[in-house]
């Protein structure tokens, strides 16, 4: 069967499963809608958290980014896994004991203040919307690449599917579809990785293959070969970095803390029965995530080696079929700067650099002498090859010449990753609106049934908005997704941690801290990413820290402001202090409730 038909079958079957699960597990009450009834097993919750957490970016882009960044890509590996240690040790058990539906619930009650709750809702909405737009775009890209439909059509199909199971099933439906999606996505990620590792080194376990010798040169370690080739072509050695150490530290910490502060991740721990289940499910979650995260650097390094060996100094005419497929999609581009018909792939040390100024601008009225697509924006340096990050995972099956069904599997895996994350975020958005805003602030008398309707309506509204951004992506989506972590780190993390570990913490301190943290982060992001407030370049960064790492600085300011202000204002009332003591011990955890 050809790849196209197989892809339709794989994607169709996986979608049918998701829809089937949604019908089977539809929610009948707000409790089922917000926290899946509160009886999810730790293993299932761990899997669901893993799928929720691993987005299109983890699945499609991360290996590619690491591939091109080498050691510097480690910030994502450590940053996006280390946060779960913080979650398990510092947040999840206590928030579960607290036993409400949402993060703003905790902030609002712990800081006995509507203002605090409102600030938390505002932060949750900003973080979730910046994140979800990227997911819908991911769905669209996958559809257009694998099923050859327009990106717009792809986004709409994705919207309908997510709408169906998120609106019908709420958290309950989402949880069990995410379990299925995890299985699909991890299988889809591992299968090509195993093939590729085996081809290159004879070792079928990718994470060990990465440290093994090459099958073709039994005396040479794969990574040494890659270091050597990278250096020869003028790139950094693969295992060396080029970012400053302080920036690597700051980015890693911002990603870790941001992970621990993301509302759609935290809320998953409200769905288990007991406090000990919350700890355990964080462990399972990281185990399931870790499987992908220790495989990704292997995929990255093998992919890079394959790419270099396939293209460098070869005639364009000799390129395999996948080269032109990806060229047609604009994810690869070659511009023959020295007119020799060969591809030169060069890094800075060999007068290379970015081959083009930005993404390829194609001029399609005619083809180049070798038959390549012509671009109108070549840069001055000698590098001739433009490669999009995303190509590493999506093209790997083709580059390694794997059977068609692997290709179809990867398509289904990409979609599972994007849809599961989108659904989790939608739930946070809808519960922020129906529970935190409507029930807790605007109209407290609303009945459970009424709230459920409100939750479903706001989920629908959120899907439509997310879909709109997916079809008309603001240019900044990609840039902003990484910054969502900074925003979460700068706003929620200190308020939650201090709320649990510092009994004296009061509302004045927490509100001021959150406002200072998120404002500082927004300011820095707007200044250095979007040229507001006079803009600025790398040289102007504060402490040499990039906007991606600035969440760390903003978080530290949040902590300082919170503590100092609370020292000079009245301590929290006795019942709140009692609540803190109660949160610290695991027994007597009631099932999550909204009252």
């Amino acid at each position: 069967m050809d790849a196209q038909t197989l892809t339709y079958i794989f994607v169709g079957v996986s979608f049918a499963i998701y829809i089937g699960i949604a019908i089977w597990s539809r929610a009948g009450s707000t409790k089922e809608f917000y926290v899946a009834g509160g009886g999810v097993s730790p293993l299932a919750n761990g899997m669901a958290t893993a799928a929720d957490w691993m987005s299109a970016a983890s699945f499609i882009s991360m290996a590619g980014i690491i591939s091109f960044m080498g050691y510097d890509g480690s910030v994502f590996l450590m940053g996006w896994t280390g946060g779960f240690v913080l979650l398990a040790l510092l947040l999840a058990p206590y928030l579960r004991k607290f036993g409400k539906f949402t993060v703003p619930d905790f902030i609002g009650d712990r800081y006995y203040s509507k203002t605090a709750r409102f600030v938390a809702v505002f932060c949750a909405l900003i973080v979730s919307f910046t994140y979800i737009a990227g997911q819908m775009r991911g769905v669209g890209v996958v559809f257009s690449r694998f099923l050859e439909v327009e990106i717009e059509t792809g986004v709409i199909i994705g919207m309908v599917i997510v709408l169906f199971y998120a609106v019908l099933g709420g958290m309950k439906g989402i949880t069990y579809t995410q379990v299925a999606q995890y299985c699909v996505l991890i299988f889809a990620f591992l299968v090509p990785a195993i093939f590729i590792s085996f081809q290159a080194t004879g070792n079928p376990i990718p994470m060990f293959g990465m440290g093994d010798t090459l099958a073709s040169q039994p005396d040479t370690y794969m990574l040494d070969k890659l270091d050597g080739l990278s250096k020869e072509l003028g790139f950094n050695e693969y295992t060396e970095g080029s970012k400053s150490m302080i920036d690597v530290l700051a980015i890693t910490l911002a990603l870790m803390v941001g992970t621990a502060g993301l509302p759609h991740v935290i809320v998953r721990f409200f769905t288990v029965k007991r406090v000990k289940d919350a700890r355990k499910s964080a462990g399972y979650a990281l185990l399931f995530i870790g499987i992908l995260y220790i495989t990704a650097p292997a995929v990255a390094s093998f992919g890079k080696l394959n790419l270099i060996e396939t293209v460098n100094q070869k005639d364009y005419a000799e390129m395999p079929e996948w080269f032109t497929t990806w060229e047609d999609l604009g994810l690869l581009a070659w511009t023959d700067k020295n007119a020799d018909g060969k591809i030169q792939y060069l890094g800075k040390a060999k007068e290379g650099g970015d081959a083009l100024t930005g993404i390829p601008a194609f001029q399609d009225s005619k083809r180049g002498e070798s038959g390549q697509r012509l671009v109108t924006n070549p840069s001055e340096n000698k590098n001739e090859l433009y490669v999009d990050n995303d190509i590493m995972v999506m093209a790997n099956p083709e580059i390694a010449d794997l059977p068609n069904w692997v290709f179809a599997l990867v398509a289904a895996g990409c979609l599972a990753a994007a849809l599961s994350t989108a659904a989790g975020l939608l739930l946070v958005i809808s519960s922020s609106v129906s529970h935190d805003l409507i029930k807790k602030m605007v109209y407290p008398k609303i009945s459970d049934k009424g709230e459920l309707i409100a939750a479903r309506l706001s989920a629908t509204g959120a899907v439509v908005i997310a879909g709109y951004f997916g079809i008309n992506p603001p240019g900044f989506v990609a840039a902003v997704v990484a910054l969502a972590f900074g925003l979460a780190a700068a706003s929620f993390f200190p308020a939650i941690i201090l709320g649990i570990f510092y009994k004296r913490m009061n509302k004045e301190g927490a509100v001021a801290g959150m406002i200072v943290g998120i404002s500082l982060m927004l300011f820095y992001m707007l200044k250095f990413k979007f040229d507001f407030f006079g803009g600025g370049t790398k040289e102007d960064w504060w402490f040499g820290i990039s906007p991606e790492g600035f969440g760390t600085v903003a978080m530290i300011f949040n902590f300082i402001v919170s503590i100092v202000i609370s020292k000079f204002t009245a301590p929290p009332p006795a019942d709140v202090q009692e609540m803190v003591e109660n949160v610290r011990i695991p027994s007597g955890a009631k099932e999550a409730s909204g009252h």
């Binding site: 450590m78 093994d212 990574l223 295992t239 220790i294």
Partner: protein, 89 residues
């Protein structure tokens, strides 16, 4: 009153031991990632395990293994602690 007092004492002792565990586990979390993977990466790179330079291995593989182990160790410790103070019901 008597039982209430006892419960209060238990809660305080439980919390203290919990904080002690955190004071042991979190430094390990820090050392394997920020320490071995970043701050001392260059120094560790002189050692090799298989084809991996050690610092690079910590940054891209080792830290993740340790993270997973840390959480499960904490789960075990806390389950025991819950039992010890009768908070497991």
């Amino acid at each position: 009153m008597e039982t209430n007092n006892k419960k209060q004492k238990h809660a305080t002792a439980y919390w203290k031991e919990n904080l002690k565990y955190l004071a042991i586990l979190l430094p390990i979390w820090f050392i394997v990632s920020y320490g071995a993977g970043i701050l001392f990466k260059d120094w560790l790179d002189q050692f090799q395990i298989g084809g991996f330079k050690l610092g690079f291995w910590f940054a891209q593989q080792g830290s993740i293994y340790v993270f997973i182990i840390l959480i499960f160790v904490y789960v075990r410790l806390m389950n025991k602690l819950d039992k010890k103070y009768g908070f497991d019901k």
